[in-house]
Symmetry: D2
Subunit: 272 residues, 4 copies
């Protein structure tokens, strides 16, 4: 199967390009499943029920989040009820949302979906290593394809988790830094890995925010509204090919959709 993972969708620009491009991408790249990290989808921080539905309608089959997960209380019922959205599994047991989910791909394959957060340079949280062990053992053994979004800051921690899970997950793909890394690879055990798949939103920005605002605050300590930027909108993600029988990844490649690609993808998507 072919799985596309879309990195942190930031604000309206990010949502717009997802809505315009994902149906066409499904056709163009013969995708069986689309997973997206939506922690910045609502005005740059958090997710709302409306946006959740907008993304699902656009062809996003499963959603992960990150440190901004609980920024909007309206999303709590969605986190509790909907079967295709997960919270980071290493949050406390009492945290709202499910620790893992399974979704069915277009080709009929069941896919386990997990979100984990890093500990280094993040808010205090329990070990993603222990949580990964727990979640992977809870999943039905017939779910061979297992996807993990590792929402983390430090490259060393991402690499270590990827190596730790090599052979036990089909893919360990990073989010949170909003910058794609050029290290996509399949580890020897069959786990596709990339430190960060990058951000889906405006690249004429500082990790999605208006440059002038972030700069003013940095130079003067004066707080400003870090509004979502608007220029040079892209989808950034990774496309992983996975053997459905074994759950082993066979290939990973970076995906970047730019504004100039949108008309073509829109046309492709409408025809389908």
């Amino acid at each position: 199967m072919r799985l596309l993972f879309i990195g942190d969708i930031v604000g309206r620009p990010g949502r717009d390009i997802v809505r315009q491009s994902v149906p066409g991408l499904v056709v163009e790249r013969t995708l069986d499943l689309v997973i997206a990290n939506a922690e910045n989808a609502a005005g740059g921080s958090g997710l709302t029920p409306e946006i959740y539905r907008e993304l699902v309608a656009a062809g996003v089959d499963a959603i992960t989040l990150g440190d901004h997960i609980y920024r909007r209380r309206e999303i709590f019922p969605i986190l509790q009820r909907e079967p295709n959205i997960v919270r980071p599994a290493n949050l406390p047991n009492e945290a709202i949302g499910r620790a893992w989910a399974t979704v069915k791909a277009r080709n009929g394959t069941l896919v386990g979906v997990v979100s984990l957060m890093g500990q280094l340079y993040m808010k205090p949280i329990d070990s993603p290593f222990t949580a990964a062990d727990r979640v992977l053992s809870e999943m039905p053994s017939d779910v061979k394809v297992r996807f993990i979004d590792f929402h983390a800051e430090a490259t060393g921690e991402a690499q270590l988790l990827g190596r730790y899970l090599d052979g036990r997950a089909s893919a360990v793909l990073g989010t949170h830094t909003h910058v794609p890394t050029a290290d996509e690879t399949v580890f020897p055990g069959g786990t596709a890995f990339q430190c960060d798949v990058g951000m889906t939103g405006p690249y004429d920005s500082v990790i999605g925010r208006r440059i002038d605002r972030v700069l003013e605050t940095r130079l003067t300590a004066n707080p400003t509204a870090f509004d979502v930027a608007t220029g040079d909108v892209r989808i950034s993600g990774a496309l992983v090919t996975i053997d459905d029988e074994t759950g082993r990844a066979t290939h990973i490649e970076r995906v970047c959709v730019r504004e100039c690609d949108v008309p073509r993808l829109e046309a492709l998507g409408k025809r389908s």
Copy 2:
């Protein structure tokens, strides 16, 4: 002119591939200047006089460092005396080493070399923004080509510094995370930018260190020796083309030299 910047050289594997490949790269890529970050060159941490000389002999024209700069006291005299090695300019004034240097490229162009460190998720240090202003104003105005290694953890801080210096530096290229980012670009003002150019050393590792050791410590809290790994050695860096008259970058591309490239480069280098 064409400038190659080589990311954090890690241990003997990193030094070996630099020594074997750089002379050939100079020929193959028609390089005018080679700058390298050598903060991990000595056993994974710091730099020694011998290794400094080894790198210079291999064709490295200027050297930057980072948080590990003072790990080996033997390097202090080199930092004080040699004209082609700089300390991070936002360290205290009293810190050993020069805050900027100029080196002459093979084509005769003078190039200013600066190192700065990030503040976010790093040890306390003064603002790299203020230090950049100071250092750039100290440099002779006829030094048009100005190179900055930004040794930093957080992508947002790297992007912000790059945008801040757009038009004032020829290149702002990152180091420290040991993972190359896929965001190389030339900003509108003519500054080449990349969050991190990646590590030069063993990629079958956790940011250069033995996987088993780092994993044991993470899983048990038991300290282990984080020895430099050995497998899948690469040079990772970026090649920037710069207009000598204006100092504006016109192009940037990622460079990755793998073990299979070494024989070809060695042959090329010997012929020169």
Copy 3:
């Protein structure tokens, strides 16, 4: 002269006990000057012009702040205009507010007032050591009594700054942790020192906030409103005796005003 420094005033409970008690404390303790840290005075975070005036009316002669200084934009004009309120001196030069102030004590002595912030475990900021040197050299040399509020997290950094400034400041007293330390002392050079003078506000709390709210967020990751608590309100501070001629401190003692002390202090204050 006798100088009372009042630690972080938190919300209405903190302001109330200051208003009720400070006039009486001035009488009871024969105070020549009252300085207060007001960074949490407005609803637990920041300061407003009204609260600034309320505190001054209550007998607070000078005000320092901390990391929450710019939380309320309304305070900006006060920071720019009023002569008895300072911003942390190691913020960027462009930051709003004055880097130091002088105020006249009841006994006629001029007192220099400085605020500095720590670097360790705080948001990125320039060195308080360098900023202290700069500010102390800017102050007129006839200002012998020099007070420094060091708003910092780490005890080691506080002790180091205190030792560094020993003999150059009359007092280096800490704020920010909201817990008084039992280490008040006068260093050999004549600098009164205490890592933290503690918080002025509700002690039946978690550093001033409602226990139930902070606990829920910690246990579930669910964000809650960290409202200011209400029970067991205290003033916490330090009283320093200083030789006006030399600026050297001769004594420091912790001050704690509890709710049961308020009626007595109110009566004393009204009589004056």
Copy 4:
């Protein structure tokens, strides 16, 4: 029963004053149990078997540690075998050492001993809240007196854990900042609490280390050997009175032994 808890013993000066004073303190203060944090006992960092035995011989009945626990490998067998020394309970399950211990006090009462580490501004570690729940439920229910050393940086986290465990532990006393806080109290449920009991070692120092060395490194970024200081040695700790039947604390007071107290305590100790 009366329990003395001695904060972080730092180097030889700390060990010396413990050896000289604890036997006398047992007499003078009619102590039933002495617990000490020894994470800095060996040259300022870690613990060795010899020093473990030295402390036990001096009258220390149980030992806790902290982030420096594994600095010396020689201590591993002691951590595995000895019944009166614990590792932080929120380290990974695989970490060497026991997660809790019970020791018998001089009056015959069994006392549970637990160490936990904070998450805020510390290296990544699992929740001390969850670990406290687990460890307290594992302890035999007839162990009514339960002591917890909370080795943490942030006051807010310490207060929150203390409030969380109020009524379930006899005492939650902090270590790690090396500065005693003036907030010792018994919470309504019967838990004695203090953010930090302070350091046992040289106070003419920066948290136990030579001032000149720490200052040089801070001002120049030049690493120096942070040797243990020598002047103004003190024991800092807290004395808690606990009802053996219920395990509830009834009183807590700070304890400070200074060099001038040593002759008296030595005489007292020898007589016993």
